[in-house]
C-alpha cells in the first residue's frame, strides 16, 4: 500500500491487511495528532488498510 506522510513524502508498505493505527505506530505517529484518509475517504484509525490502498496521513496539530 502507498502511505502519504504529513510532509507529503510517500512510502510503500508491503504488509498485508492491518489496522491504520498500526501503520501510524510504525511511522512513530501519534493518532491523536493526525487524521487519516483511505483512498480519499476519512476513516477512524481503527479501520483496516490493505495492499492496494492509498493511506494519507494529515497532521492536525499546527503552529500559527
Amino acid at each position: 500500500m502507498q502511505i502519504i506522510l504529513p510532509d507529503r513524502s510517500t512510502r510503500q508498505l508491503d504488509c498485508g491487511t492491518l489496522p491504520i493505527e498500526e501503520i501510524l505506530h510504525r511511522f512513530g505517529i501519534n493518532p491523536v495528532s493526525v487524521i487519516v484518509t483511505r483512498n480519499g475517504r476519512l476513516v477512524p484509525e481503527t479501520a483496516y488498510a490493505e495492499e492496494d490502498d492509498e493511506i494519507r496521513i494529515i497532521r492536525v496539530a499546527h503552529g500559527g
Binding site: 481503527t46 490493505e50 496539530a61
Partner: protein
C-alpha cells in the same frame, strides 16, 4: 480479501449505520460524516450557551488568521447568526509580517470573508508597531510566541475597539486550552492560570470568548474537510522555538494513553478558578506611562517589547 464495506467501522449514533469518519477517543463513539458535523455544531452551540458568551445586540470581532481554527470559528458563528437577534460579526486579521507564511493565510481569510459577506479589517504590526515580526524578533527568536502573542493581542484589541466590537472571539481549541493550562502551571504563572478573559473584567477590556474550547483539533479539521472548507496552509516558521511545541507533544502522548486528559486539565483549571477570589488573578489596572494603554504595571508589555523608554 475484505470488501470495502466490511472494512468500514460504523457510526455508533442511533439509529445510524453509515461508515464512521472519526472515533472520539474519550467517549469511544464512532461518528459518520453527518453525525460528526452535527456533533461539532452542537458542542459549539452548547459552549456558547452554557457560558453565556453572546448577548443580544453584540458586535463580535472574530480573530481570523485564515488558519483552520479561526476558519471553523467564523463558519460556525456565521451559521448560528440567525438564532441570535441583533448580533453582528466582523472579522479582524492581524498581519504580523512573517515572510513565507502570512501572505497565504491572509489570502484564505480574505476569500472566506468575501464568500460569507462578513466585514473584514486587516491590521499589521508594521503600521501599529513600526516593524514586521521578523524585524522585531531579531536576536530573541526563542521568545517568538511570547512576543508575537503580546503584540497580536494588542493589535486585535485595537482593531476590535476601533470597529466598535463588544466581544472578541478567538479560535482556541481544546488542545490549545489544555496546553495553556499546563504551560501556566509549568511557569508557575498563577495569575494567568486563574484569569478568565471571557468575564470582561477588568471592565476596560473587551471580553474574549472561545467557543471552540471544548472541540479538539481532530474534530475541527474533520469538520472542515467534511464541509469542504479545509485547505493546507504553511506552518508558522517560529513554531519550533516555542515551549508550546514541547507541551503539545507531551499532552498528545498523554491523551493517547489516557483519553480525556486534555478535558480533565481544563476542568481542573475551572475548578481552581471557582475557588479563587477574583482579585488573585490580574493585578490592579492602570495606564501605561508610555502609550496610555491599560496595563498592570507602569509600562505595558508592548512598550517593553518595543524598547520604549521607561
Amino acid at each position: 480479501m475484505l470488501t470495502p464495506d466490511s472494512r468500514d467501522v460504523r457510526c455508533t449514533s442511533t439509529p445510524c449505520s453509515e461508515p464512521a469518519v472519526i472515533r472520539l477517543r474519550d467517549s469511544g463513539q464512532y461518528l459518520c460524516s453527518t453525525h460528526c458535523i452535527r456533533h461539532v455544531e452542537n458542542l459549539f452551540s452548547r459552549t456558547v450557551e452554557d457560558q453565556r458568551m453572546i448577548a443580544p445586540g453584540d458586535r463580535i470581532a472574530v480573530a481570523l488568521s485564515g488558519g483552520k481554527d479561526s476558519t471553523a470559528l467564523l463558519l460556525l458563528l456565521h451559521a448560528a447568526l440567525p438564532a441570535w437577534p441583533g448580533v453582528t460579526l466582523i472579522a479582524v486579521t492581524v498581519d504580523e509580517g512573517i515572510a513565507g507564511y502570512r501572505d497565504e493565510t491572509i489570502g484564505a481569510a480574505v476569500e472566506l470573508t468575501v464568500r460569507l459577506g462578513v466585514e473584514h479589517h486587516i491590521v499589521s504590526f508594521a503600521s501599529l508597531f513600526g516593524g514586521d515580526l521578523d524585524v522585531l524578533l531579531k536576536g530573541r527568536e526563542s521568545r517568538s510566541c511570547t512576543v508575537c502573542g503580546i503584540l497580536r493581542r494588542r493589535a486585535l484589541a485595537t482593531a476590535a475597539r476601533q470597529a466598535g466590537a463588544t466581544r472578541i472571539a478567538i479560535g482556541h481549541n481544546l488542545d490549545d486550552e489544555a496546553q495553556t493550562v499546563l504551560m501556566n502551571l509549568l511557569r508557575g504563572d498563577f495569575p494567568h492560570l486563574v484569569q478568565d478573559a471571557a468575564s470582561g473584567e477588568p471592565e476596560c477590556f473587551i471580553p474574549r470568548i472561545k467557543p471552540l474550547a471544548w472541540l479538539s483539533e481532530r474534530e475541527i479539521v474533520t469538520y472542515l474537510i467534511l464541509t469542504g472548507n479545509y485547505r493546507e496552509l504553511p506552518e508558522c516558521p517560529y513554531t519550533g522555538f516555542a515551549l508550546r511545541s514541547e507541551v503539545r507533544a507531551m499532552l498528545t502522548g498523554l491523551e493517547f494513553r489516557h483519553p480525556g486528559t486534555m478535558k480533565n486539565l481544563i476542568r481542573s483549571r475551572d475548578t481552581i478558578r471557582q475557588h479563587t477570589p477574583r482579585a488573585s488573578g490580574v493585578g490592579s489596572v492602570q495606564r501605561c506611562r508610555e502609550c496610555g494603554e491599560h496595563c498592570s504595571g507602569e509600562i505595558c508589555q508592548v512598550c517593553r517589547i518595543l524598547g520604549r523608554p521607561g
